[in-house]
Amino acid sequence: MVVGDIATGTEVLVIGAGPGGYVAAIRAAQEGLDTTLVEKDAYGGACLNRGCIPSKALITGSGLAHEAGNAESMGIHADPAVDMGKMVEWKDGVVDRLTGGVEKLCKANGVNLIEGTASFADEHTARVAHGGEGQGSESIEFEHAIIATGSRPIQIPGFEFSEDHVWSSADALDADSVPDRLGIVGGGYIGMELATTYAKLGAEVTVVEMLDDILDPYEDDVKRIVRTRAEELGVEFHFGEGASEWSEGADGGYLLHTETEGGEESTYGVDKILVAVGRRPVADGLDLDEAGIETDDRGFIETDDRTRTAVEHIHAVGDVAGDPMLAHAASKEGIVAAEVIAGEPAAMDQQAIPAAVFTDPEIGTVGLTEDEAEVEGFDPVVGEMPFNASGRAMTTGHTEGFVRIVADDETGFVLGAQIVGPEASELIAEVALAIEMGATLEDVAATVHTHPTLAEAVMEAAENARGQAIHTLNR
């Protein structure tokens, strides 16, 4: 019911205050544009509230507890007791600080904030239903709009989310206690990060995955290292099985039923079921057709390299605009959208977008794999440095994994890297810079790296690709 309909106007309307939307809004405001940001739920979006940040907090917490309890070889004898409720409270504190920061930054930059749910009325008008009870709505006329509504976890039939038994990833990050047995449907990066976390917190974790391995897009040797480590932590894997239904078990828990393609059925006793089979765009409720925008068959909004939709003054950024569904990609797109609107020569023209998976050990990737480079027509040359040859890695107690760097043999240009091992998510940044700057293997190899650090492994891998590695045998 529309109680009061107030019409206002803005140059740029941003819908959604996640890492795509709030960044776009701040940049647009910095460009001197009158900018309005509509958020229906929480500043910072899924990333800050239900994704990247809270999961990293729990991964760190669970990792610390696990490390402390497993450091006898270093002479440390401890049996840490984890208060899950307290850990989640600490995590919430971190989240609050960040989301509060986002709100403050938006205001400080002169962004008008509106809490509510936006939908399109036509190409230049959006209606915003204000959040909260008995609130009205308003029509906002805009010159440009940026859709940044993000994504939400995919539900599978028969597994409607509920805190009590079927968790979404968001629920898993808000649990007040650690379930004894956790069944996870999906061995993708979200499933694997949470499998590692809960295994370290003491849960018996069972992962059910339809494909025949975890972490589908990654290379086999990368997957193997993560899977082996997860198995060491007690995670049980069942590949080639799809979750079919769940039922209540006799022991007060639940039964997770699975089925193979051949119809073979299995049942696993669990206390909670986490469904992490991917995310889908949030474009419903936006009335996109009123603005003349269509979505593809997966629900994503198609955009060009300047983030423009088919309706050129309306942009879409982040998860709602399709792959890669990564927060940092969303932020970059947000900046590009704002700058394009401001008349700046911006475009999504980066050579590569890095990605990280915060499993144990971590995975960091950027650019092309060796196979991809070949497909693109390069003559790839590859160098590797295993962490078990890194002094710093040994002193951290984590020597699984490697740095692999891929370059073009003829020109030496760095094309990509796959890192699996301690701090891989941090290490990948150097290679991303190298790729973006058009650096060659020689540039990376000849850049002095601090000793003793894990980053030396990147330099060593580059040297290895040139047949000049010092600490590994050259291939």
Partner: protein, 553 residues
């Protein structure tokens, strides 16, 4: 609408690279299969490269004047449907200056200004390696970054390259924009952007010198810049070390964060300029103008106008001309270098008294003319050489060091050195032993004239077993010819003139004038001993002095 990429084909056996001299087409042009699209100068010939597709030219990947390895993609065609007007092709259109194969200014400047190692091949995937700052600048200036020549390692594109490109030709370039009036086109800096901040713009403003100076810098006189600090990548610094150049001395107009920034190509260009300067002053045989006091002559500032901003013009003062060392010139150079540093040369000199040869030619000349052939002495000399080679096969040979064997050739294919405007060319007359004098005369004439027009096919310059250089046609008696490696011998011919010779008449010796032909025979002493060379020369002379002997072969 598939886009077909087209690689520089193997235009002649063994040719590894060629200089793309002229584009005969521009993006958007319709081409038919076999229609020539470019002229490429290879080892020793200018060849036309035909298209293998019917279609529309999509993109040219190589600038005129660039060296292109065989197998590199040089052009792409849109085949099948009408491809013109496609947005991807649009930004290139301004690039290649219309249909009249006139080199556009940017390309010309590049060609003149940079050294032989410039412009690495595009990566096979068509990916462009440039940092984000350069890519953004390209959009800001309306430049298609894929068309910019990178001067960094491996052809990496920097901001200076983008500026140089924009300066060079893309003035009113169409933007690669799909065209909305609202949407910002990446045309040059929009004046209406008011208080907005753009890092790129700012950098350009406080920045540094005219972009045009960058392209001109390499050809300017090598004046040490003598900076205190210089930014350069580790790879560039290595190049500098290898060439014995101090990066602080390398002239550049490029800056990074306010500091002078030097690329590997800058270093190489500077090193080369230094080298050619010393070489010029030392080795120039032409009368060198005495050192000019530039400040007095007063025209220092006039030297091209572009060279100025790099260094104080008064200090430089060099008016040397720089000629690119590439294409035919470089091929000759490399070939000479290889020959002289590989084969120990010995030159044997002697003189044939050729009264009888002169008479024989006079007698045959009208006959030849009846058949439309101009008979020179060359066919006689060729025949005489074949006679000598048959007797002394080691002069018709090749040393294959790696195989530890000397190959005695059973074919008598004689290379004839021809001076052309572009430099020395050596077309080969095959199977001289099987051909008659008139036939040889006609063939030599044809090859020589086509060599001068640079219409020889590479194959026509291959397969020689022995060479002849007729420097006497220009004048002179003796020389020390350089062997056309991997052949093992070469015969130089002086001018046939009347010279004093000693002859016996009535039992006494007297000096009389007689037509003589001075011979200069260079041999590879690894394969041929001096005595054999002398004996070979004797046989050749015998056949020249008694041309009837030629009938015995």
């Amino acid at each position: 609408m598939p886009v077909k990429e087209f690689k520089l084909p193997d235009v002649g056996e063994g040719v590894a690279e060629g200089e793309l001299v002229t584009w005969l087409v521009a993006p958007g042009d319709r081409v038919e299969e076999d229609q020539p699209v470019a002229e490429v100068e290879t080892d020793k010939a200018l060849v036309e490269v035909p298209s293998s597709y019917d279609g529309t030219v999509e993109e040219l990947f190589v600038e005129e004047g660039e060296m292109v390895p065989v197998g590199d993609v040089i052009i792409s065609f849109r085949v099948g449907e009408e491809g013109a007007g496609d947005e991807a092709a649009a930004p290139d259109e301004s690039e290649t200056a219309g249909d009249d194969a006139e080199p556009e200014p940017a390309a010309a400047a590049d060609a003149a200004g940079s050294d032989a190692t410039d412009a690495e091949p595009d990566t096979p995937s068509g990916r462009t390696f440039a940092p984000p700052s350069a890519r953004r600048l390209a959009r800001e200036l309306g430049v298609d970054i894929a068309a910019v020549d990178g001067s960094g390692p491996g052809g990496r594109i920097g901001e200076a390259d983008v500026r140089a490109h924009a300066e060079g030709g893309a003035g009113g370039a169409d933007a690669a924009d799909s065209g909305s009036d609202e949407a910002p086109a990446p045309t040059p800096i929009d004046a209406g952007s008011g208080g907005r901040k753009s890092a790129v713009k700012k950098r350009g403003d406080d920045g540094s010198a005219e972009p045009s100076a960058t392209t001109a810098a390499p050809s300017a006189a090598p004046e040490p810049a003598g900076r205190e600090t210089t930014l350069a990548t580790p790879a560039t610094r290595k190049v500098a070390r290898e060439l014995g150049v101090d990066v602080d001395d390398v002239p550049t107009d490029a800056t990074r964060d306010g500091e002078a920034f030097v690329t590997g190509d800058d270093v190489r260009a500077y090193a080369e300029a230094l080298e050619s300067e010393t070489a010029d002053s030392a080795a120039e045989s032409a009368p060198e103008p005495s050192p000019v006091d530039v400040s007095a002559s007063g025209d220092a500032a006039g030297a091209g106008g572009a060279a100025g901003s790099a260094a104080e013009p008064s200090a430089s003062g060099s008016t040397d001309e720089t000629i690119p060392y590439r294409g035919v010139r470089r091929t000759i150079g490399k070939q000479m270098e290889r020959s002289v540093y590989t084969a120990p040369h010995v030159t044997h000199h002697d003189t044939a008294e050729v009264d009888a040869l002169v008479e024989a030619r006079e007698e045959l000349k009208p006959r030849a003319e009846e058949r439309g052939v101009k008979l020179t002495y060359m066919p006689f000399v060729m025949k005489a050489i074949v006679a000598g080679l048959k007797e002394y096969p080691s002069l018709n040979s090749e040393l294959r060091e790696e195989d530890e064997e000397i190959v005695l050739k059973k074919e008598y294919n004689l290379g004839i050195a021809v001076a052309t405007d572009a430099g020395l060319m050596v077309p080969v007359v095959e199977d001289v032993d099987e051909k008659g004098l008139f036939e040889l005369a006609a063939e030599v004439r044809d090859l020589a004239s086509r060599a001068r027009e640079r219409k020889l096919k590479p194959a026509e310059m291959k397969g020689g077993t022995f060479s002849i250089t007729n420097f006497g046609a220009i004048g002179g008696e003796y020389a020390t010819p350089i062997i056309n490696y991997p052949e093992t011998a070469i015969l130089g011919l002086g001018a046939i003139e009347e010279r004093p010779v000693v002859r016996e008449r009535d039992g006494t010796s007297e000096v009389v004038p007689a037509p003589t032909l001075p011979l200069s025979l260079s041999i590879d002493h690894r394969v041929i001993d001096g005595a054999v060379a002398a004996e070979f020369a004797n046989t050749v002379m015998e056949h020249l002095e008694h041309p009837l002997l030629l009938l015995s072969h």
